[in-house]
Symmetry: C2
Subunit: 350 residues, 2 copies
């Protein structure tokens, strides 16, 4: 009896289709011997689609995607400054809309320095932490506006919205994750300045901490956290933080663990009400699109997160091991996107 | 005929008094031969004062400070978690209140990797840039609040307020600075998510850029900016950004240029309506207070910024050179706060 997983593929723009192609083969190779079958639908979404049709994400697109079990996304976004995209906001209208509509309240971003990966730090030590970034609240809600736009009297406001409901559920997820890992959790915020939102986060972390006496909890202001990420990244295990701080910390974390070409992420709806979505942290990099220069590793590691989310732990572990072995064997010789994908797939088939 | 400068000293908490003592001697040494005289008043402000009197910054304090020509501040803030400070917010009530009341709309934070300074990067290259951080707007305005506080239905909002007036003046300052430096300016924001505030910043930078055709302007999202700060910090000359992003970037910049013990800053009111305030970027570090373990270099470099602001360019340059020479000669042997201060002062007197 085989299990069928309905997978929505959103290759997207720029290097998205190239890296998704390799991620798809890795997925197939990792599950070839299992009783799982992926029923894939490809959605043409992103800047290219917008330029063709004027649509960013229609209600029909959304309904169709929602009918799937999981989503694999490459990257979306057109060439920066493209005048035809002036009125579009692919990031807000597509990527963020999916995260919000599908209630992806956990944005899971693991950071691990694989042996062989070379980052910018002289003495990185061991790096292995996970950022649990809130995905549906904070400064990302889009509750902003401006008055007297374009005049010398313009006032532009953005409101960060934070709820006990929204903070508690992601904090609980982070504590549960810390329990399965090294039992250390760091809250990152800016409580001394953002006293209302920061106060809410702090009180909820303190409250949930009392139910997890075996988890060591500490707190860092976001500015101090960036210092530790370069000076002593080994101190972190699970970081829980808001949408904006999580965005910033995970790009930096990607950089210190060998580059954004290795950073994978999951946009997770832990309740299972909506499909979760897996994507590399990197963007669409239109400048190198179609040239086979992109590293598909982050997309392939996103497949590992997807498999793990589906409960296919062995298959997930095989993908991670194959990547780990490939990274360890990387020399300075540049490889094409397909060559890296092939090498990882060969390890999965071995 | 000698010029008298009325200087307000706010040593503050923790290591503040120790580093300010060294900064004061450096100031005296640097100006000993000049026709300038500093008329100093010390203000006892910070967590210690709050614990004694319950006051954070009274209107009388503020009026007295405002009567000065410039301010030198050490660091403020008590021991984190001190229950007696539960209802105090020294950062908002004192430091931020001073920045807002004295209209310090330019928070100037230079980052330079001095020869001999060792940071966490394996291959830092040359680093020499300045962050022009907006100081009176953005998410720092304190326009937040919460409803149903402490209940499962709590909603905590924070509003970032951005005005054309406020953005334009700091952007103009940054362009003028870029003209005097390497003529490269990078706007850092998150325009794809914070479309209203980001849009305002982008439009104003574009408009002012047209008056400065010789300045090369680019834009980075804040997350990408953190990657460049560790992967290629040499690309930056002048960064202009909002209050929160500037806070984050400058701590990271401090870390990559040899640690926050070297990072100086000026809170500047370029109009001269109010006194400008100079302070190390580091905090009060209560854990090492009174132990002569703090590095006073950041405070001494803040004196250089102060002298420069007062138009005493030669004296400012002498302080910077003395620090540079000291940093270059630093071995691995630890020195006390006073030993570092003495060594720098000796170079100033030589
Ligand atoms: C593209 C952008 C909206 C997105 C974000 O800010 O969340 C990206 O930076 C990310 O981290 O996934
Ligand atoms: C203490 C705090 C309010 C302050 C800030 O966030 O501005 C500090 O981090 C700084 O950078 O000067």
């Amino acid at each position: 009896m085989s299990r069928v997983v309905k997978l929505a593929l959103i290759p997207g723009d720029g290097i998205g289709p190239e890296v998704v192609a390799e991620a798809e083969s890795a997925l197939d190779a990792a599950t070839a011997e299992s009783d799982i079958r992926f029923d894939k639908t490809t959605f043409s979404l992103g800047a290219a689609r917008y330029l063709e049709t004027g649509d960013t994400l229609t209600d029909d697109d959304l309904a169709a995607i929602t009918g799937h079990d999981a989503i694999l996304l490459g990257a979306v976004g057109g060439v920066p400054g493209d005048p035809r995209l002036k009125d579009a906001n692919i990031e807000r209208g597509l990527l963020l809309r999916l995260r919000f509509e599908l209630d992806h309240y956990v944005n899971l971003r693991p950071s691990k320095l694989y042996p062989g990966a070379s980052g910018p730090l002289a003495d990185p030590g061991e790096i292995d932490f996970v950022v649990v970034r809130e995905g549906t609240e904070g400064p990302y809600v889009g509750n902003g506006g401006s008055v007297r736009r374009g005049t010398p009297h313009e006032v532009a406001n953005e409101t960060s919205v934070n709820t006990a409901f929204g903070v508690e559920r992601v904090v609980r997820y982070a504590f549960a994750l810390a329990e399965r890992r090294s039992k250390r959790l760091t809250l990152v915020h800016k409580t001394n300045v953002l006293v209302h939102s920061g106060g809410l986060w702090k009180r909820i972390v303190d409250a949930v901490a009392s139910e997890h006496p075996d988890v060591a909890v500490d707190y860092l202001h976001v500015d101090a956290a960036t210092i530790f990420l370069v000076a002593n990244p080994g101190r972190f295990d699970v970081i829980v933080t808001d949408n904006l701080f999580g965005d910033i910390l995970t790009d930096l974390a990607g950089a210190v663990t060998g580059g954004i070409g290795l950073a994978a992420s999951g946009n997770i709806n832990p309740d299972g009400t909506f499909p979760s979505m897996f994507e590399p942290v990197h963007g669409s990099a239109p400048d190198i699109a179609g040239q086979q220069k992109a590293d598909p590793t982050a997309a392939i590691l996103s497949v590992a997160l997807l498999l793990d989310h589906l409960g296919l732990r062995d298959e997930a572990a095989r993908v991670t091991s194959a990547v780990e072995a490939d990274v360890a064997a990387r020399g300075s010789e540049p490889r094409t996107t397909a060559q890296i994908g092939d090498a990882i797939r060969a390890r999965l088939q071995a």
